[in-house]
Symmetry: C2
Subunit: 325 residues, 2 copies
């Protein structure tokens, strides 16, 4: 008597719904037990042809859809508590669903973020994957975009720009012979499978005055953080951490500096740390195994953040970040 939709859910997604609150995906709703915490809620959708390419493999799509949300939870200082998944599919194909569900299951286990529920619908159009994720923070302890104060150090995790150049690789906008195949694959992997910094959540919660994840581009996201905090900022562009491959490409391609600063899809954490907290934060990040780099300072005022090159001249950016409209 079960419909195709019920079969699909039972076959591919019920094995992932191990949390008691998921009710085996057999109810209208899921149950989230706050256990004395505040609940942080974030939602991000990815659309075929907009956020990913039609030939991106299903396992990377599963990971990306979940991880872009996990990245938000990390930036808010929250521990993952679970997520719901909305999947709009043209057809229910085993060859797509099996690797999608397998990879999603691996990530739910690795990040301890169980599947709580969802909705699977058919669409005549592009594939769309929408995730709403939940995190727990001690009451009143969510880290906001507002809260940055003049004098705070500005820090960023990992390296910036890999994903944006990975997307250019996939689109054939960078000649293959410029870099070796493993380096090329690394950039593409950074675009397809973000590495959210959930290991840093506690350190962010304990030390950051403000934080957000870098999803639309470092320049634009910093501008948002500054606007929410009512401050300005100065960034030393040469302090922005780059992978070896990105540094090499910057040497060869004029203009890629801007791509790095406003390209997006980094899913690193941008945060502001009061000076007297910096050493503790850096030590906590080291213990968590997350590289962090100080890239500038928060300043008083309402001016847009300035990005200074090695000569101290402002870098001009035509667009700060990606916009859908």
């Amino acid at each position: 008597m079960a419909s195709g939709e019920d079969d699909l859910i039972a076959r591919y997604f019920r094995p992932l719904a191990t949390d008691p609150g998921a009710l085996g995906l057999t109810d209208d709703a899921a149950l989230l037990t706050p256990s004395g915490h505040d609940i942080v809620v974030t939602t991000d959708a990815i659309v075929e042809g907009v956020h990913f390419l039609p030939d991106d493999p299903p396992d990377t799509l599963a990971r990306k859809a979940l991880r872009v949300n996990l990245s938000d939870l990390a930036a808010k200082g929250a521990e993952p508590a679970g997520f719901v998944l909305t999947l709009a599919l043209r057809e229910a194909r085993e060859a797509w669903l099996a690797p999608f569900a397998r990879a999603l299951g691996e990530d739910t286990a690795a990040f301890r973020c169980p599947l709580l529920g969802g909705d699977t619908v058919s669409t005549p159009g592009p594939l769309m994957i929408s995730v709403t994720a939940f995190g727990r923070v001690p009451p009143g302890r969510m880290v906001h975009r507002h809260g940055a104060k003049p004098g705070d150090r500005i820090a960023v995790t990992g390296t910036i720009g890999d994903a944006a150049l990975g997307l250019r690789m996939l689109k054939g906008q960078i000649e293959d012979q410029v870099i070796d195949a493993p380096s090329r694959d690394l950039l593409i992997e950074r675009y397809r499978v973000p590495q959210p910094r959930n290991a840093l959540a506690t350190a962010i919660r304990e030390h950051a005055s403000a934080a957000m994840d870098v999803s639309d581009g470092l320049a634009g996201d910093l501008a948002k953080l500054c606007a929410a905090s009512g401050v300005s900022a100065t960034i030393e562009v040469r302090a922005v951490p780059l992978s070896g491959t990105v540094a090499l490409l910057l040497d060869q391609y004029y203009g890629f500096e801007r791509e790095v600063l406003s390209g997006g899809d980094d899913y690193e954490i941008l945060c502001t740390i009061p000076e007297n907290r910096w050493d503790s934060f850096a030590a906590a990040a080291h213990r968590a195994g997350v590289p962090v780099a100080a890239i500038g300072r928060v300043e008083a005022g309402a001016a847009p953040p300035r990005f200074l090159d090695s000569s101290g001249r402002p870098v001009k950016l035509e667009r700060l970040s990606y916009s859908h409209f």
Copy 2:
């Protein structure tokens, strides 16, 4: 410096984000304060050409997207706490967004379910509106699909079948002259704008042994409730509450009985009430202004629910409910 996407959010959706937890839609995430309650989470998406027609007006789409989720909260005995909205749009048109946001704002106020956050993305394909809604219940008091016991009365709110026949009207499958224009409009309105039974949430929580909302068709949804509860059921078809218009159409169109029982989009509540709770439940429903009708009994066993006609013969249903795949 704000992008088109930021402008769109600020202009149309920030006015709806009145809850402090929404943080003015200027952060990566929203904050949901459980206040000692469990959080009930439900998610439902509607897709153009699948769940609604391309020429359905934007104000009705806003209401439908939110209300199908509010209906789930009501059936779980939960009070609305807020929702996040994912909107996939081909273009950002004032003529569509303004009435959409205005109607959504009216519903968030009427149902006390504030907008907490969301994601607005572009799509080359059909419009899609995905809502994840949150409700609060006292700890351990969410009403499940499981819990129905043999001997319980089966009840349903409102009337069944109006929306399914409204959709047939819109598709031109029922001749216009069969019913008068106001009756026709009422059926279409039931399809386009569900009336979720949130006024009944407390009564459900206090009296129902199991509950769900009727979204995919009474027959199929009852089968799901029975399967989750490990029981069977018998329904008297003549006891299923019908509007005057649906009753008239049943007289004229052979086969519409099945459409009523398995058509879907009703967004009424189906629940099971222990016999010794019936009077209290009926009184509470009356006080809440929600019509309820007893339509059958829960029975022991694993057989699919039976629908008996006025002669006591089982009504044969080809399909129990809508399935996407």
